[in-house]
């Protein structure tokens, strides 16, 4: 009986170990396929033509700068919305709200995180952009601003949950020490708790921004999809196009193996590398702080 148990346990352990390694395999696989289909771009167009400011694939113009600026302006706008509201909500839930309120708010924010992006994009088309058009007297409501507002809303749950965990993790002793010294709760939050949760808050912001950069459907539906270079403040109020929307909109119509096809994969590669950079930065913030904490405790 012992023998068969050993064999069974051996197989299970092997399977579990293999599953553990699977994450690395998948990341490598994804990168491999993006590169495989994206690198041929360089054989067919030059780097300088990619850095052009015209994106007009029908006439072989593959300048990706307008797409990059489009993503950038929408993401920055989203961050301007998500960071204050997300951190504010996190502070409220973690430090100010009474317990019963917390039990209502946390599920509600989680609910927002579960809303499909296509539903928000849908409401963006039917409700938000007509409203913006009328409110700001614009020719169209399908603008970077609409995208930023909705993306901010999509990024908020991420920011709230990570930041709230970070604030929660600050030891009670810190707050009690400040109160004992005569600080008000407000002063304690901003001078003690928040700085103590600094790395977690930073991680929350980075992950939220990462979420915004990667969002596809919402931006595709409300930002107007005009690949125009977006570098002025006024660009916020006109249509733009993001990298993600470009891929989603045009992939269905390209011939497999054509230059357009390869360029779209190349854009995918760029997006992959951006999210890789953001995530490595976010996790290195966590690792670095852990080491510091170990040094302090020893």
């Amino acid at each position: 009986m012992e023998k068969s148990l050993n064999w069974y346990e051996f197989v299970i352990t092997r399977l579990i170990k293999a599953s553990g390694y699977s994450a690395i395999i998948f990341v490598a696989l994804i990168f491999f396929f993006l590169v495989r289909e994206g690198i041929p771009t360089f054989a067919e167009t030059s780097l300088s033509s990619l850095l052009n400011i015209r994106w007009y694939p029908i006439e072989d113009h593959f300048g990706i700068l307008p797409l990059i600026t489009g993503s950038l302006i929408v993401t920055i706008g989203a961050a301007l919305v998500a960071v204050p509201f997300g951190l504010g909500t996190a502070v409220y839930i973690s430090e100010i709200a009474p317990r019963w309120m917390r039990e209502i708010l946390k599920p509600l924010v989680e609910l927002l995180g579960g809303l499909p992006s296509v539903v928000l994009g849908f409401l963006g088309i039917l409700v938000l952009s007509p409203y913006l058009r009328v409110l700001l007297n614009l020719p169209t409501g399908l603008t970077a601003l609409a995208g930023s507002l909705l993306l901010g809303g999509i990024a908020v749950p991420t920011v709230v949950s990570v930041a709230e965990d970070a604030l929660d993790a600050v030891p009670r002793a810190y707050r009690e020490g400040a109160w004992a010294l005569g600080a008000t709760r407000w002063q304690t939050i901003w001078r003690v708790t928040f700085p103590a949760a600094r790395s977690g808050v930073l991680t929350a912001v980075m992950l939220g921004v990462g979420r915004a950069i990667g969002e596809t459907m919402t931006v595709m539906m409300v930002t107007g999809n005009a690949p125009v270079l977006a570098v002025k403040l006024g660009s916020l109020f006109s249509p733009v196009r993001t990298m993600t929307a470009t891929i989603a909109a045009e992939m269905g119509e390209v011939a497999s193996g054509s230059t357009h096809y390869h360029v779209l994969f190349f854009i995918g590669m760029v997006l992959f590398l951006i999210s890789l950079a953001v995530n490595i930065a976010a996790s290195s913030v966590v690792f670095r702080t852990k080491k510091r904490a170990e040094r302090i405790l020893s």
Binding site: I24, I30, V118, V127, A248, M251, L264, F265, G268, L271
Partner: protein, 287 residues
């Protein structure tokens, strides 16, 4: 430091708290408003024919049954691939892995998988499953793509759940002559199961609502029949909503809202089930 009057400090606190509370409500109220608005606008479209019939007249009339069924198929398909693999990987990280550079690389890989844009998953799925493995635009390709996307969510929530089981249980179990796997199966996994289940449902909820990963890997605009096999393409609720709200001229608004409502109900009921499981488990915990 300037000597501040006590009145000023409390005023500052009162003001600060008010601003922060307003921010929190400004975040939360739109969520409720969105749900209620879609409910009000979409409810008139809901009828037995709507839920069980096929689209007619270029989507402008009839029902959305194939989209509903398609989403159910895709969710099941995603579950089949991502759940066993995700739980096994979580067990590895929680119960077997030591703190080595390899383990840290695995964790970074998981964080990265979680951050990859959904449309990039679509590209990957296109490159690997549709083209290279020649599955074509199919439920199979779309499910596999969605599974890899869902994997990090399942792994991280499952691992957290496993880790929350007190270490003392494992020590006691081993001291009574259990092997590591016996300990995991009989004690750790059993206690972590509600938490794992919650994570699984939340992960599948996200997969059900995603459009970009299925755009090029499995979604079809219109199919006259329900899919027969995993190699068939399928309609799906998120994709259907996208199409009828952006590509179909003269689309009745009522049907758009109705579709949005059905998708919302699908997704939110999963959310509700997960929340209920989580709170019931917390109440019955034996530690």
């Amino acid at each position: 430091m300037k000597r501040a009057l006590p009145i000023n400090r409390h005023l500052a606190q009162r003001t600060g708290f008010t601003i922060i509370s307003l921010m929190a409500f400004a975040t939360v109220v739109p969520i409720i408003a969105v749900v209620i608005y879609i409910l009000i606008q979409g409810l008139p479209a809901i009828s037995w024919e709507f839920l069980t019939g096929f689209p007619h007249n270029g989507m402008r009339a009839g029902g959305i049954l194939p989209a509903i069924i398609g989403t159910i198929y895709l969710t099941i398909g995603t579950a089949i691939f991502s759940v066993p693999l995700g739980i096994a990987a979580a067990i590895y990280l929680s119960e077997y892995a030591a703190d080595t550079p390899l383990t840290r690389t695995i964790r970074i890989a998981i964080i990265n998988l979680a951050g990859i844009p959904s449309v990039v998953y679509g590209l990957f799925g296109l490159g690997l499953f549709v083209i290279f493995l020649n599955f074509g635009t199919s439920i199979l390709a779309a499910s596999l793509t969605l599974s890899i996307m869902t994997l990090p969510v399942i792994i991280s929530t499952a691992e957290e759940s496993l880790r929350s089981v007190p270490q003392a249980f494992r020590t006691v179990s081993i001291s009574l002559g259990a092997t590591r796997w016996q300990t995991i199966r009989r004690i750790v996994l059993k206690e972590a199961l509600p938490g794992i289940l919650t994570g699984v449902i939340l992960g599948l909820e996200r997969a059900a609502g995603e459009t970009a990963p299925i755009l090029f890997t499995g979604a079809a605009f219109f199919l006259p029949r329900l899919p027969h096999s995993p190699l068939d393409a399928t309609m799906a609720l998120p994709y259907h909503l996208f199409v009828i709200s952006t590509q179909v001229p003269e689309m009745p608004i009522k049907i758009q809202y109705g579709t949005a409502l059905v998708l919302l109900v699908f997704v939110l009921s999963m959310n509700l089930i997960a929340t209920v499981i989580r709170s019931r488990a917390r109440a019955r915990r034996q530690w």
